[in-house]
């Protein structure tokens, strides 16, 4: 099952999340849009970390990434990203 969600945030940035999941387990996540994340590699790192995760694990995994890595998002908040992924995977 593949689902995607697109949201636009104040400040104008657009965030699109596409999640392919099977029986509640995430197979693949793609995070795209015209936002900024520093360091940029953090996005692919998050996508990789979510492979094989269940919906309930999404928040813990992503919060863990941000805590450990000094990651800055510009244009959206981590919470927005988490709820969009959860929405697509659940």
């Amino acid at each position: 099952m593949e689902r995607s969600a697109t949201r636009k945030f104040s400040g104008g940035k657009l965030l699109k999340v596409t999640v392919r999941s099977e029986a509640g387990v995430i197979q693949e996540v793609r995070i795209t849009g015209d936002f900024f994340v520093h360091p940029e590699d953090a996005v692919e790192d998050m996508e990789r970390a979510l492979r094989g995760a269940t919906v309930t694990a999404v928040r813990g995994i992503l919060e863990g990434k941000v805590e450990g890595g000094g990651i800055t998002t510009v244009g959206f908040k981590l919470d927005d990203l988490i709820s969009m992924i959860e929405g697509c995977a659940g």
Binding site: K8, T32, D34, F36, P39, V43, V74
Partner: protein, 252 residues
């Protein structure tokens, strides 16, 4: 930052342009390149897309092919941009941690855009910075910027629309929702150029020199007219090859 190297305006191939910005940032990050302001243009015209964008969502590839418009993925985030002959592009790079540039990203956009706003005002244009990363005149965008922090450097590049070939706008497939809250129905309504505002043609070299002067003033540093180093030029071919590759363009 006591001194800023200025690389004067030259129009370049899109892949070369992105490769040189990256080469400059890499050298700075490894402590072997000076803080740099580079002014350049695009020949041929090109669409650049943000690092995180899906090329198929943003660009009409058939249109680009038919018009000879190149498409390149940037190293920086942000949105898709059409770069045509009337554009003056700048890139500014310093070592990460340089006190001249605030650590917080939003503050650093405002800081680096300040000299550009100042240059516009000297031209008689009532320009203002609009967060996150735009400069507007009467509510319409005349300049957009994007930043990356990699290799130990901060690199910000951006546009300044002296003029624009609006006939190439269909290269971008902009979603209506992107423009809604900015009060514009389409990109044509969202964007303006200095030519539209001032009703005259401006010279890119001259405006570039003005921008450089304002960077010197704004960052209180000495301007050193310079060119690219051998080391930077040495990095360019391989980087340009990557920017030109389908793999890089279609990675998202």
């Amino acid at each position: 930052m006591d001194r800023l190297r200025v690389i004067d305006f030259a129009a370049g191939d899109p892949f070369y342009n992105m490769a040189l910005d990256e080469a400059i940032a890499r050298r700075i990050g490894s402590g072997r390149g000076p803080p740099t302001l580079r002014l350049y243009g695009w020949s041929p015209s090109a669409v650049s897309i943000g690092y995180f964008q899906e090329v198929r969502e943003e660009v009409d590839l058939d249109f680009c092919r038919s018009k000879g418009v190149e498409v390149v993925r940037r190293l920086t985030g942000g949105g898709a941009v059409i770069h045509t002959e009337g554009e003056l592009t700048y890139s500014f790079a310093v070592k990460e941690g340089d006190p001249a540039v605030p650590k917080d990203v939003q503050g650093s956009y405002a800081r680096i855009c300040t000299p550009i706003v100042a240059a516009l005002r000297r031209l008689g244009v009532d320009a203002a910075f609009r967060p996150i990363n735009d400069i507007e005149v009467q509510g319409r965008k005349v300049s957009g910027s994007a930043q990356t922090r990699r290799f130990g450097a901060v690199l910000q590049h951006g546009t300044l629309l002296l003029d624009m070939d609006f006939a190439l706008l269909p290269a971008l497939t902009v979603r209506a929702e992107k423009l809604k809250d900015k009060g514009a129905a389409d990109v044509r309504g969202r964007v303006t150029t200095l030519k539209e505002i001032l009703r005259r043609d401006l010279n890119k070299e001259r405006v570039g020199a003005l921008v450089a002067e304002e960077f010197g003033r704004g960052f209180e540093c000495e301007l050193m007219r310079g060119s690219t180093s051998k080391e930077e030029e040495g990095l360019v071919p391989e980087l340009a090859e990557r920017y030109r590759s389908r793999e890089w363009l279609f990675r998202r």
